[in-house]
């Protein structure tokens, strides 16, 4: 066996060892990691519900891309979607989501958004931690939109290391037009469900 062949064999051997080592470490890391990225969300309703009527129906057709939600661009104002599901939540983790607004009028309007602590919670969702508003950042609290055009609001939740999370909790995001002067005004409240990592 010549020197060159020896060197080549040694190189291949090192590559093989490194490959095996890296694969093994990745498997170990994934097994230990509490994070699971799922293409299709699973039903995470609590199995230990203590009351029979505490049933929570998780929609099985949730989508991961907001642009997959189809609506008619007519003269109505549209807020998309009505609810967001934040799963695998745990201290130290970060999540980002967004809402789409369609301005159905022909005139430009300004929409605004804000966090709101819920008055009441849906079905078996609990109240969120009292300081949850501190965890949420609204990247663009106002969006100026031309007539019959779309706008996007972006949000981020940064769960602190010392956070204590209920199994499922709910908080609200409000979206409304800024320029409402009349006696009757309207707003849309969007439900955000936060699921503790199991």
């Amino acid at each position: 066996m010549g020197k060159n062949r020896k060197t080549w064999f040694l190189g291949v051997l090192i590559v093989g060892v490194l490959l095996l080592t890296s694969c093994a470490s990745e498997v170990v890391e994934r097994e230990d990691s509490p994070v699971t990225i799922e293409e299709t969300p699973t039903d995470s309703s609590p199995s230990e519900a203590t009351t029979a009527d505490l049933t929570y129906e998780v929609e099985t057709t949730e989508v991961s891309n907001i642009d997959d939600i189809v609506y008619l661009q007519g003269e109505d104002d549209v807020i998309i979607p009505p609810s967001v599901h934040l799963r695998n939540c745990a201290p130290g983790r970060i999540g980002k989501w967004k809402y789409k607004v369609y301005n159905g009028s022909l005139d430009p309007v300004i929409y605004t958004t804000a966090f709101r602590y819920p008055d009441l919670n849906h079905l078996n969702a609990s109240a969120p931690p009292s300081n949850i508003s501190d965890w949420i950042t609204i990247e663009n609290p106002m969006v100026n939109m031309e007539g019959q055009s779309e706008g996007i609001f972006n949000y981020k939740i940064d769960i602190p290391e010392n956070a204590e999370l209920p199994e499922i909790s709910e908080f609200w995001i409000v979206i409304k037009k800024v320029d409402q002067k009349s006696f009757v005004q309207w707003e849309v409240i969007l439900r955000c469900y936060l699921y503790r990592s199991s």
């Binding site: 190189g11 590559v15 980002k96 008055d119 707003e187 849309v188």
Partner: protein, 192 residues
């Protein structure tokens, strides 16, 4: 020696390609999914209400119940509320069932601020208010609070419009001045 170095570089590239996805996953820890639906409202008409001006003389008296009833400012709705008794109409083209909640602020800015008692009952310096809608038993009218009112319409079916109204019982004590106050009625829409 060159081949050895080449092999090492190749190994590093391969290892990096395996490690990077794991690192990337750490930045996507919270999984986000969306309910494939939307809320669509084309607004409420009309958006105004001047108390006691539908058929009355527009003068607002103390300790009196006023209704947003086109049939009469002091006429209560029927036992089951009729559409003709509802001043306000909201067009709903959402593709999900929705809950509708009404909140009514304090009346301020004038010579006689009038506070929402949040109990449905009036008192000294405070008013009581209720909301109702077409088809509802009037006896089941819902107290309007300045915030956190109970849901008025629960699980309204998708693409269903709704007609509704409110009533307001003015404060028990006499007005001090003549400058009018104003409040805001907010219609909150959310997925059921």
């Amino acid at each position: 020696m060159k081949k050895l170095l080449l092999s090492l570089v190749l190994a590093l590239v391969l290892v990096s390609s395996l490690v990077i996805p794991v690192l990337a996953a750490e930045f996507e820890e919270v999984t986000v999914t969306y309910s494939p639906a939307f809320i669509s409202i084309s607004g409420t008409t009309p958006t105004t209400w001047l108390i006691n001006s539908l058929s009355g003389d527009s003068k607002v008296r103390e300790d009196t119940i006023y209704y947003t009833n086109p049939l009469g400012d002091t006429t209560a709705p029927s036992a089951t509320v009729l559409i003709g008794e509802c001043r306000f109409a909201t067009t709903n083209t959402s593709n999900v069932a929705i809950d509708v909640t009404l909140n009514l602020t304090d009346f301020t800015g004038g010579s006689d601020p009038m506070i929402n008692s949040n109990t449905g009952l009036n008192g000294v310096g405070s008013y009581g208010a209720y909301g109702w809608y077409t088809g509802q038993l009037y006896a089941n009218k819902v107290i309007l609070q300045s915030s956190s009112s109970a849901v008025l319409i629960d699980a309204l079916a998708a693409t269903t419009n709704f007609n509704w109204g409110i009533e307001l019982e003015t404060q028990t004590d006499a007005w001090v001045g003549t400058i009018e106050s104003s409040g805001t009625l907010t219609v909150s829409i959310m997925e059921d």
